[in-house]
Symmetry: C2
Amino acid sequence: MIPADDRGFTLGDGLFETLLAVDGEPRLWDAHLSRLQRGCAALALPSPDADACRAAAAQALEAAGLAVGRAALRISWTAGSGGRGLDRPAAPAPRLVATAAPAPRPGVPVRLHTASIRRNDGSPASRLKTLAYLDNVLARREATAAGAEEAVMLNTRGEVACAAAGNLFWLRDDVLSTPELSCGALDGVVRARILERAAGDGWRVLETRAGPEALQGADAVFVTNSLGGVRPASAVDGHAFASHTATVRLQALVRDAV
Amino acid sequence: MIPADDRGFTLGDGLFETLLAVDGEPRLWDAHLSRLQRGCAALALPSPDADACRAAAAQALEAAGLAVGRAALRISWTAGSGGRGLDRPAAPAPRLVATAAPAPRPGVPVRLHTASIRRNDGSPASRLKTLAYLDNVLARREATAAGAEEAVMLNTRGEVACAAAGNLFWLRDDVLSTPELSCGALDGVVRARILERAAGDGWRVLETRAGPEALQGADAVFVTNSLGGVRPASAVDGHAFASHTATVRLQALVRDAV
């Protein structure tokens, strides 16, 4: 339970991480914790203690009976209680909350639908997993209403930013591209891992700015996140993609992580 | 207390209203309830029951010992618990939370600072009081860090949208202007009341789109909201405004409401 005056609840003033845990072991723990700490710096929040996070995570997995199997571990870190309206208290006392739920392997491939709701690249929050995720909820709703499973979010300039719950990559003429973070793309942990490893595996990789035509004209499109790893798109706005031999090679890059 | 799986907490999936209550009586109750209902329609949430809201408000005022004096009443309406990640459950069971706090009359005049964080006019949430209010928190932080009390938020095209916690009006050559809602302006209850009454009181009123130069070039600038009514700005980004005779007349338009 959370106090009703928690600023995470009242204002979305906080951050979260979603991690995959397998048999009680969180994957990419250091990368997730590091992103949470960078997010705290961006929001001017004190950082959580790493040991406290780890202990809370273990407790959440145990409480949910998920010490075995695949679990979605969620760590929330809020600005805590108090303050006056929008203003935080002089010394915020953040609140740590960890929960766990079963995480069956998500279905593949994924049908994508471009949402009308734009991603606010004019806010640092667009690069962070914040408790103010309503635009993502609404974008996902648009996608499911259109018969798709996930949304493509464009930024305020109409450039591709990311998915509602993940990052986007596309392959064309053997170049693997993903939007720059400044497009309003979430700074995804799996995205970072792919960028870190792809060149060493012989990929030509590009962080770029591109309109939605880049997806339509691609040879393959992928959604990446911590729970699903690398999932190929079968369609973007009804434009179908055949399965691509590069998929397995891309998935292999992060096999240890997801 | 709120369950940790409430979507208001985990994702900012919900709405709120902040009302002024004086001696136990909420001001502009119908207007606030109507806005909450319109917000529910925009977010595809079931609407709250009006009687339940009223009862929760009365209970919150009593629990806080605020049956006498000025109180800030907050009604939150969340998408409730459950669902899977971003996806709401098939039949959301929203949660109603009401709280009350003392509401001393806010200080005047107000120094304004234009925040670097943009308001996402590309999302319907920009017109609503949603639980995903982090951009407003960050904009206010920028303003207070710059020695001001409130932020001017520009939209993604660089047009004036609204304040972090209120709407903006400006007066020039006897024309009273405020940004159109499509600029990403909050659909403010006091804003609506002013627009409804100003023409009958002899004002020339304009809902418009304008860049920040409109504020710098104005004869007077005002911040409006439910707790503060109409507050004149003493400065915008260091550009000072003398007190203006129109202020009292504008305040009189909503005297019954604040």
